[in-house]
Amino acid sequence: MKGGPAAGGTPGTAAIETHGLGKRYGSQAAVDKLDLRVPAGAVFGFLGPNGSGKTTTIRMLLGLANATSGTASVLGQAMPRALDAVLPRVGALVEGPAFYPYLTGRANLHRLDAACPYAPTATRRVRVEEALDRVGLGAAAGKKVKAYSLGMKQRLGLANALLRPRELMVLDEPTNGLDPQGTREVRKLIASLAHDGTTVFVSSHLLAEVEQICTHAAVMRAGRLVAQGTLEELRSAGQAKVTILTPDAGAARTVLARLGLVPGTVEPVNDGAGPAAVTAVLPAAAVPAEDIVEALVGFGVRVRGFSVDKGSLEDRFVELTGEGFDVAR
């Protein structure tokens, strides 16, 4: 699926498009001048640390919160003005699942489906059962939600989003609280949705997950969009890295320094029994990688391994959003 052609919509149309979208609470901007573009048919990863404005953006896109500036359009129509026309075509999981604890999973879905005046009543029972089966909750649908685990509630939330065929799915942390099987199933589910032409907008901070399922991604930091594009574009914008495995770590560092690179710390491999790993960032303008090996060998460094790694999405993410663990604001 990755890098595959956009299945639904005409190429070039956007499922979500915002211009200068902003949300202020008092003097603080939760989201600032957001220009987001989610192409139709994409699986779009919406990344950012906690508190970077992801959920606020999703709330504005779904018409739950009003933007204080800028415009947003979803499925080609202005939000929140065309809310009634747009939302029936959008499945949403916003900031964790929430249900009536004293009702069964099935009864909850019936109630939520009945909340929408545009949902056909005649097919409701069938649609609810299909959605429950699709998330693997068929057996537990008769239990009260208060007896559900977090993972089961999450599945029920996904079932709610799947009650009708949707053109866009907005999933806020869809794998939160799921076991590894559940996570795999969600990945499969997203892949099958994308295959059917649904645009999927996934917010997450699990980068590995985004790398596995997404075709496009955007990165938020402190309410601002710091990068967006295809996954390939994002990765290649990061810096490559060379790693040398050698018993002569000191000499290798000297060579790297002579070549104008900044060698990183030496990391022992296999508790220091084997060769050590020396790494250095390889800027695009630096010497070609093969010249480094030549220089190393010429200097008498015993090279046991040499690799050039394009930055992972995680490196790029940390590069864009900063290293610290503290919540930005």
């Binding site: 018409g63 919160a65 916003v94």
Partner: protein
């Protein structure tokens, strides 16, 4: 809550039955009439429930309408469904009104049943002194029930509005009940008599006028007008607030 409300007439009837014969003259109006006629159980119960029990339950239900959904997080899913904000508000108020009807019906039905069971039933003396037969009296009782339901609609609208202000249902419930009590306290202060006709609780016990021959409709009319006024004002406030609110819960 309905069971508790239904228990009120039962308790009254049983208590009066057990202490049969005392006509001390204390207690609410009609209380000493019960032994003579079972239909007075309903009227006594309504007099007892209207100032506190019924407003309490209506306050709880109306205060929970929006704030309860918000507190539970289900509000965002209802709105994303999309339920439509005005539609949701309308349904919630209809629910509150339906509950008010059910609450008053619980008191009236339980009161009638227990009254028939424990006491003799016969022609009922009205406040104007006329005697009417039991069927006419039951008709009057239903009229009183309708009056009480109408009386509480204003409070329901206030509760609905307060419920749109917060995500904490208990706070909205408490605020609504406190307002109901405060309104009655203000109504009892003679220094504020200019304010009294504007208080939503002013006509709450005015249903006695329905027990005259011929029926005195003026308090019914004034009450209806007042309640419709409260409904319009607080309904509009709730609409204005809820349709522009950021749902962040």
């Amino acid at each position: 809550m309905l069971a508790v409300l239904a228990a009120v007439p039962v308790l009254i009837a049983v208590a009066v039955r057990l202490t049969n014969g005392t006509r001390a003259g204390h207690g609410p109006v009609f209380l000493d009439r019960i032994t003579g006629n079972g239909l007075f159980v309903v009227l006594t119960s309504l007099v007892l429930c209207t100032p506190l029990f019924l407003p309490l339950t209506v306050g709880v239900v109306s205060g929970d309408t929006i704030a309860g959904e918000a507190g539970q997080g289900t509000l965002r899913y209802l709105l994303a469904a999309p339920a439509g904000r005005a539609r949701l508000l309308l349904v919630k108020f209809a629910g509150t009104a339906a509950f008010t009807l059910a609450a008053v019906a619980a008191v009236v039905l339980a009161g009638t049943a227990i009254g028939l069971l424990l006491f003799p039933v016969g022609p009922v003396p009205l406040l104007s002194g006329d005697l009417v037969d039991a069927w006419t009296a039951e008709g009057r009782i239903l009229l009183v029930g309708a009056y009480v339901v109408l009386s509480l609609l204003g409070l329901g609208a206030i509760g609905l509005f307060i419920s749109t202000l917060t995500d904490v249902p208990v706070g909205a419930m408490a605020a609504t009940v406190v307002l109901a009590i405060a309104s009655q306290v203000l109504d009892a202060l003679p220094q504020l008599d200019w304010l009294h006709p504007w208080l939503f609780s002013h006509w709450w016990l005015g249903f006695a006028d329905l027990l005259r021959q011929p029926v005195e409709w003026s308090s019914f009319g004034s009450n209806a007008l007042l309640q419709v006024g409260y409904l319009a004002v607080f309904g509009a406030l709730a609409y204005g607030r809820f349709t522009t609110k950021d749902v962040l819960s």
